[in-house]
Assembly symmetry: C2
Homo-oligomer: 326 residues x 2
């Protein structure tokens, strides 16, 4: 599965590019706190609270950095992205700030809370079947938004550089960090953070975490090559999928020490624990690394879990809090 000529392997961002991204986005993005998990576990577990970003997820970092580097002429035509919800909010936030049009192609599985937030930000939503949505990620085109600048949620070096600023902040806030666990969706968050850490702290273990209902990274690492897996939709809608983006595999396989496929029950337990002991709301994706760390997957020492976002429907959250879900 060599990348085709139309989808060359992504070049990960350099440390210099990540540092430049930090200066570029500083005024728009929250330098999120790193706090201890309020419960005992097999490791000293820390939480990097990206759910405290204005749009409720880390996606603001990459979107802001990419948009800041686009040309004014390109931007004037308007922008669009393909997203299950969080990148859409990132791009829509930036577009609103610049007063330009924003379109979003979403899969028909996208959750209500995320759609409502996209609408609040003034973007136009185009809902399509999952396969058609995935196709946009591969081709970077959709007839509905023809002529507009496409911002890829994952395989864009500027987006990854923006995400990488999380790695800089972790390294500074916790110089003795031993391991970092990152939710794996498309690989853009992983590529950014891991690129920063590999440069600054080569000894740190970098892991990804996925729901076991769709864990292509774990399966592909085990197989030594990208494989497709079964995928079942669940309350974990911000990470996990059927397959890897072909251009991401060569990058992420080099950057990551392992990936953990976590049961939905453990992820729901982590959502509940974060609410009760740290008073923060994580969506399924954001709680998946915490589930892995609590299960001892990331080993001992100082383990940082990237709580990537907190955009979850209130009704769904209520059912997790009362133990009805999953």
């Amino acid at each position: 599965m060599t990348p085709s000529p139309t989808t060359p392997a992504l070049e990960p961002p350099t440390l210099e590019e990540i540092r430049a991204a930090r200066s570029r986005i500083a005024g728009d993005v929250v330098a999120t706190p790193l706090v201890r998990l309020g419960a005992d576990g097999p490791a000293e577990i820390y939480l990097k609270l990206e759910n405290l970003q204005p749009i409720g997820s880390f996606k603001l970092r990459g979107a802001t950095n990419a948009m800041a580097q686009a040309e004014a002429g390109e931007l004037a035509r308007g922008v669009f992205t393909a997203s299950a919800g969080n990148m859409a909010q990132g791009v829509a936030w930036c577009a609103r700030a610049r007063g330009i049009a924003c379109g979003v192609v979403v899969p028909d599985t996208a959750p209500e809370a995320k759609l409502a937030a996209i609408t609040r930000l003034g973007a136009e939503i185009h809902k399509v079947p999952f396969a058609e949505w995935w196709e946009v990620l591969v081709t970077r085109r959709h007839p509905r938004f023809d002529g507009r600048l496409f911002l890829h949620p994952v395989s864009d070096r500027r987006v990854c550089a923006g995400n990488g600023t999380i790695g800089l902040e972790i390294a500074e806030a916790l110089p003795a960090v031993d391991a970092v666990v990152i939710p794996f969706g498309g690989g853009g968050l992983t590529t950014g953070i891991a690129s920063a850490l590999r440069a600054l702290k080569p000894g740190v273990r970098v892991y990804t975490a996925e729901p076991e209902t769709g864990a292509p990274m774990a399966a592909s690492l085990a197989a030594g090559a990208p494989v497709e897996v079964a995928y079942a939709p669940s309350f974990v809608d911000g990470c996990g999928s059927k397959s890897l983006l072909v251009e991401m595999w060569p990058v992420v396989r080099r950057l990551v020490d392992g990936s953990f496929a976590m049961p939905l029950g453990a992820i729901a337990d982590a959502v509940r624990l974060l609410a009760e002991r740290n008073r923060v709301i994580a969506e399924g994706a954001g709680a998946t690394p915490v589930a892995a760390a609590l299960a001892g997957k990331a080993g001992t020492g100082k383990v940082v879990c990237v709580v990537s976002g907190g955009n979850i429907d209130s009704a769904k959250l209520a059912r997790i809090l009362t133990g009805e879900l999953p």
Copy 2:
């Protein structure tokens, strides 16, 4: 209602004492983030997220500062406090760190989540009727914990100085702040923050907020003298009461520009909004200032709401999220 000889009016902490408190507690307390509320309102509303402290409330600041100034001999006998839950966690946290015994007198209305947290921290809970509990706040004694050092949750200058560090952080993070809204329980949080702001930024408007089911501060300011009010227990268990502590009135009346008695429905709406738009969990007390700011009570401009804590039962939170409560 002049303070009796046994309860002299509290002397508020000086700016120097608050600054000294900051150095003293820096290693133990989170310098919490100040973020924008993720919703439009009549003002530019900011949230000081004290619910992100390790024990889920601001009380760690005052407890840490007071305990750090107690003599080793006093501490060796063990400590106790009287608290509806949050100060108890603050004192218990510090006692555990020092390996000394901690007792807590709680009113029988104290919520389960707070009692469970106190127990997890290794403190001994003594549950009494509300009137007996209030008596401990006045007399600073209880036979069950005779001989131990009492740490008052409110009217202790060292506790207020610790709380005042929040004021320093607000002034630094948002130099253009116009108004601050603080939940009013016993007045210790108000005294601390207002003392810092009056010294650093005399032009800032300082307000308190209470649930209308128990709002003695609003009633007393209106009457020009401390008055008793009707009190009904509710999900807002961290602020609001029947009357003021006699030694606090002369202090707080000078420091505060007004107090807002908020309906439970508006407070529940604010809890829900904070969950949905900022991905944080506030207990009723923590959401009360947000309810006031959203209602326009604090006027326009840059309004900081002190989200004092987030310790709420999951079941109760779930019912607020689904609109069943109040």
